[in-house]
Amino acid sequence: MHRNYRLLILLSPVILWLLCFFFVPLISVLTYSFVERGTSGGIEWNFTLENYQRLFDGLYLGILWRSVSTAFVCTAICLLVGYPFAYYLACYRPKWRNALLLLVVVPFWINFLIRTYAWILILRTEGLLNSFLTFLIPGFQPLELLNTPLAVQIGLVYGYLPFMILPLYAALEQLDLSLIDAAKDLGASPRHAFWHITLPLSLPGILAGSMLVFIPTVGAFLTPDILGGGKVSFIGNVIERQFKTALDYPFGSALSFMLMAIVLVGTVLYFRALQGSES
């Protein structure tokens, strides 16, 4: 068989699939975002920029700000908790290292819906956390935790912490420990060695982990929906409403396109930063 013929057989299915069910649908959203809304979920084929102008409405800017700032805080918390975790596993090399790593990966295989739902059991007013605190502290008034920004924040950290730990571990594991020993031999304090050697060398891991946490959290739909109970909306929730209840497909498409633009810009910045850190 000729080489090109074989390549054609191997590649045409994937290329066709991506074209038909990925790139064409993306073009479809893009066109929808530039047309007028029709009646009951329909559209009118008249060109308009109105859907994009609406994005600058104070309401939507506020929601955009909430999505981005919550995603940022989530990334920071994951980094602060995940870094020492990965550092210990990679640099101290405990006996149970592989088992511990596996336990970090396992939640990834468990239904995200269930993992989010679990927090309802814990956070609701008559839930486990409040029962526990009432048991511990006499006269304790149960806290309203569910359907608050805090609940959403906890749910997001819970959902995406493993995505931070794994790339951090991968970066720290490749670290040449003799470099740190050399620095210490030359008189550097452990803190100095950490800030000037370990941290800069683990930067690719920090960047990768941050991207893996930030991107899905900024576009999150389920966590704010379930733990925010309609009171804490993200861009994802506004998009859902346009397609499920408001039936304003063009505006929903404009929102989707903006969300994708944010994520793609973030990805490009990430690769720039990565190249910078490697050179």
Partner: protein
């Protein structure tokens, strides 16, 4: 210092596993409150098995995941073989395009497919969901199979060809058995992700085509009952079985290479 690290590790695991444990424990609760313990019982499991909606949802989930896994495993493996064994002009571009569905938020992919289906008047049912699942599954299968193909020794294939085997025989007798653990691993991952997917299914399925994830979501929205804990635990057991299978194949992966 070392103690602080250990405390951090302990806290992370408590944080990761307590919620899951809570769901499992409360699935055996006899009361009708989701999080107030009243006594041990299997009543909610009994109720679950008698619920026809759950069975229907289960069937839809299995059909979607099964067909989507099969299609994406074939396409993804072919793509991985092409990317790892050949150098061609669009190789870098294709690799990037392949992983793009994983980078963009799932709600954007869901909306894109929904508007596409509406625009071309494609009926929304099980097929529309399967076509959508294949898009993100291809990427995962390709990643896992490519990992298996790394460091793959081409000379064995050349030897087979020299000894008179044709391309087809060489593939099925040499290449396929060698990369099979990777293919099965990729398929298991695709199957799990397909069963667990909610967002893409929610937007691309037609009315009346409920999957388990969509069923769980609706019960979450319209009345929390301990039945939810029981379904969740069943799905959890399912995930654990799939992980063990995946690990077993990965173990064979490292033994043979």
């Amino acid at each position: 210092m070392k103690r602080l690290f250990k405390i951090n590790i302990l806290l992370v695991f408590l944080f990761l596993y307590i919620p899951i444990l809570v769901v499992v424990v409360f699935s055996f609760n006899s009361g009708d409150q989701i999080s107030v313990w009243e006594g041990f019982s299997l009543a909610w499991y009994a109720k679950l098995f008698k619920n026809p909606d759950v069975w229907r949802a289960c069937k839809n989930s299995l059909i979607i995941a099964g067909v989507a896994t099969f299609i994406s495993t074939v396409i993804g493996t072919a793509a991985a073989l092409a990317i790892e064994k050949y150098r061609f002009r669009i190789r870098t571009a294709l690799t990037r395009a392949l992983y793009l569905p994983l980078i963009i938020p799932d709600i954007v992919l869901a909306i894109a497919l929904l508007t596409f289906y509406v625009q071309v008047k494609f009926p929304r049912g099980l097929t529309s969901v399967i076509l959508a699942h294949v898009v993100f599954n291809i990427a995962y299968v390709t990643i896992v199979v490519r990992a298996r193909l790394e460091g793959y020794d081409d000379t064995i294939e050349e030897a087979a060809l020299d000894l008179g085997a044709n391309q087809w025989q060489t593939f099925w007798r040499i290449t396929f058995p060698l990369i099979a653990p990777g293919i099965i691993g990729g398929a298991l991952l695709a199957f799990t992700l397909s069963i667990d997917d909610f967002v893409i299914t929610f937007f691309t399925a037609g009315v009346g085509y409920t999957t388990l994830s969509v069923y769980i979501y609706s019960s979450l929205k319209f009345g929390l009952t301990p039945e939810l804990n029981a379904i969740s635990t069943m799905l959890l057991v399912n995930s654990i079985v799939l992980i063990l299978l995946f690990l077993w194949f990965r173990g064979r992966n490292t033994q043979t290479s």
